[in-house]
C-alpha cells in the first residue's frame, strides 16, 4: 500500500470514529427500547473504525515514520516528535481500548433503564470523542513539523 494512502486513511477512520462516538453519546442521552439497536450498531462502528485507524496508522508508523522523524528532529519543530508524536502513539492505546470496550458496555441487558449503565456509556463515548479530537490535533502538529523541517532544508 502506498504510504500516502495509509497516512490519509488513519485520520479519516479516526474522525469517523469520533463522529460515531458522538452519535452513541446522543443516542444514550435519549436511551429507550426503540433506539437500543442504534446504540449497539453505532458502538460497534466506533470499535471497528478505531481498529481500522490503528492498523492504518500503525502500519505507516512502523514502516514509514522513521524518515519523517529524522526530518522533524532536524527541523525547527523537534517537539512535533518529542512531545506530540510520542504522546500520541501511546495515548492511542487508551483510545483503542475505550473504543473496544464501548460495544461491550452497550450490550448490557440493563439498558435502557439503568442510570449507571447509561452513565458508563456516556463516559466512555465522551472520552473517545475527546481523545479522538486530541489525536487529530496532534496529528496536525506532527504534519506541520514535517513541513517545517522540509521547508528549512
Amino acid at each position: 500500500m502506498p504510504p500516502e494512502i495509509s497516512l490519509m486513511l488513519h485520520p479519516t477512520f479516526g474522525m469517523l470514529a469520533v463522529l460515531a462516538a458522538v452519535w452513541v453519546f446522543v443516542e444514550v442521552l435519549n436511551a429507550r427500547e426503540g433506539n437500543l439497536r442504534r446504540i449497539r450498531l453505532a458502538s460497534l462502528a466506533v470499535a471497528a473504525l478505531l481498529w481500522l485507524a490503528y492498523v492504518s496508522g500503525g502500519y505507516w508508523y512502523v514502516v514509514h515514520y522513521a524518515a519523517d522523524k529524522a526530518v522533524i528532529k532536524a527541523g525547527p519543530w523537534p517537539f512535533a516528535h518529542g512531545f506530540f508524536m510520542e504522546a500520541k502513539e501511546h495515548l492511542f492505546f487508551s483510545l483503542l481500548l475505550l473504543g473496544t470496550y464501548l460495544p461491550m458496555a452497550a450490550s448490557d441487558s440493563r439498558l435502557p433503564g439503568d442510570q449507571g449503565v447509561r452513565r458508563l456509556l456516556l463516559t466512555v463515548a465522551l472520552l473517545v470523542v475527546l481523545l479522538g479530537l486530541a489525536m487529530e490535533g496532534m496529528g496536525a502538529v506532527i504534519s506541520l513539523g514535517v513541513r517545517e523541517g522540509l521547508m528549512t532544508r
Binding site: G58, A87, D108, L120
Partner: protein, 109 residues
C-alpha cells in the same frame, strides 16, 4: 446479543487498570534501555510489543476479574465509569507529563 453484567464490570475495571499500566510501561521503557531493547527484540518494534502487551493484559484481566467479587461501588456501572474516567485522565497526564519533561530535558527518543 447481550453480555452478562459481570463481564461488563470486569472488562471495564480491566480497561482502567490497563490505562494505568500503559502509562507505567511508557515511563519504564523510556527510562530503562534494557526494557526498550527487550520490547524491540520481541516483535521488531517497541510500539508493536507495547500494543500487544496491553491487549493481552486487557483480555486476561477482563476474564480474571469476572471471577472475583468486586468491592462495593467498583462492581456497579457508575463505579466502573469513575474508574475508567480517572484512569484515563491520570494515565494521559502521566504520559503527556513525561514527554513534556523529557522534551525539556532533551531526552525523548
Amino acid at each position: 446479543m447481550t453480555i452478562p453484567p459481570k463481564y461488563i464490570t470486569s472488562f471495564g475495571l480491566s480497561l482502567a487498570l490497563v490505562n494505568l499500566f500503559n502509562a507505567a510501561l511508557v515511563v519504564l521503557k523510556e527510562t530503562d534501555e534494557g526494557v526498550l531493547a527487550g520490547m524491540k527484540a520481541a516483535t521488531g518494534h517497541h510500539w508493536v510489543t507495547h500494543g500487544l502487551v496491553l491487549l493481552v493484559l486487557f483480555v486476561a484481566l477482563g476474564w480474571l476479574l469476572a471471577y472475583l467479587k468486586p468491592a462495593r461501588r467498583a462492581g456497579e456501572p457508575s463505579g466502573v465509569a469513575v474508574a475508567v474516567l480517572v484512569s484515563t485522565v491520570l494515565g494521559g497526564m502521566v504520559i503527556a507529563g513525561y514527554f513534556l519533561v523529557a522534551g525539556w530535558l532533551g531526552a525523548a527518543s
